[in-house]
Subunit: 209 residues, 2 copies
């Protein structure tokens, strides 16, 4: 599992939820950032619906007064600055994240070289092209586009093993204290939020403090 | 009210809660940052207990699993980097923030030139010296040290006017969408969190985007 989070000391563990816009924005930068400092980014999807709603017992941020509207504005400011054209309206109900999570973690376990390309294809399909990644057929098609087998992916989404692998990955992320998207663990240090990417760069450049 | 938030276009509105460690850390940098770009920082205290607990109906972050422990670690990393020695244990129950808030907003209304010095004295006394700013006598003494009259400050804390001024200020902050500490409004743009100070600098340096 060369791609699994935490596999080497130099690894940047990158946690994201497929349905988190801030996680998507981080996904566009994290590999370049890691490479610049001789590191590798190990991607792992998590579920904000579990960490925020079940473990912390909080409502989704987008439903909150004050913070909900603020986050939409912050996202708009970020994508404006970085020239990203979102094809997905963050005001709408997010997609069902389970098919993407199961497919990702099944691939990460059995065909790790395909996991990150599949994650990128799924994230881009959802956030740029506005496709419904809650649909298993869509996820299977996207995984197929990076070299996975369609029937294998559908089985990963619908079968017990994919479900167990996703649950185990989410449990591992919670055990490491991961509660939001994006979340990074570098040299044992946790960094939460897209805002942290400049601080992370400083950490990588200086060796930390 | 030269010191009141929002008084001029070039003003950086800086919102903080006296009992927020991240707000304290921001208070140490915001004036220098504003000055560097020909701006002025207008300080205004708010109450996270109102915005978070009453308006958003959320528990205090420090009581949350995952996010509570994370925030303590993030704060420790920040103060380590910036060479700040906190004299206050963030694990303990925070001080009662009302005396400081009333004194600040009474001064901001009647003797605005004293409001910011008083806020700095109170913040430093709490976060560096570990004093109990929930005690009116302590707040009065601290305000006296920057030129206010002791009896006037005690009256501001205990009387109806100081109470009304604080309530009005908190209501204004909520109307502007302020929900946490620190919070900045610059050129009409809201920025939440200590993490935003580098982004704010970029905004000020470039004129925004």
């Amino acid at each position: 599992m060369a791609n699994a989070a935490g596999s080497t000391k130099a690894t940047i563990e990158f946690y994201f939820d497929f349905i988190s816009p801030f996680g998507f924005c981080a996904s566009l930068r994290v590999d370049d950032l890691a490479r610049k400092y001789g590191r590798t980014a190990a991607w792992s999807s998590m579920l904000v619906g579990v960490s925020v709603m079940k473990v912390m017992n909080l409502p989704p941020i987008r439903d909150l007064p004050l913070k909900g509207p603020y986050q939409k504005r912050e996202l708009a400011r970020y994508v404006r600055k970085h020239g990203i054209s979102l094809g997905h309206d963050v005001q709408t109900e997010p997609a069902y994240p389970i098919p993407a999570g199961r497919a990702f973690h099944w691939l990460n376990h059995h065909q790790p070289e395909l996991a990150k390309p599949a994650a990128k294809a799924i994230l881009n399909a959802y956030w740029i092209d506005g496709r419904d990644i809650g649909n298993s057929e869509v996820v299977a098609e996207l995984c197929t586009s990076v070299g996975a087998e369609r029937q294998t992916v559908l089985q990963a989404i619908q079968g017990e093993e994919g479900s167990a692998l996703l649950r185990a990955a989410v449990d591992r992320s919670l055990a490491k204290g991961v509660f939001g998207s994006p979340f990074f663990i570098i040299d044992g240090e946790p960094f939460f939020g897209l805002d942290k990417m400049e601080l992370i760069e400083e950490w990588l450049a200086t060796g930390g403090w």
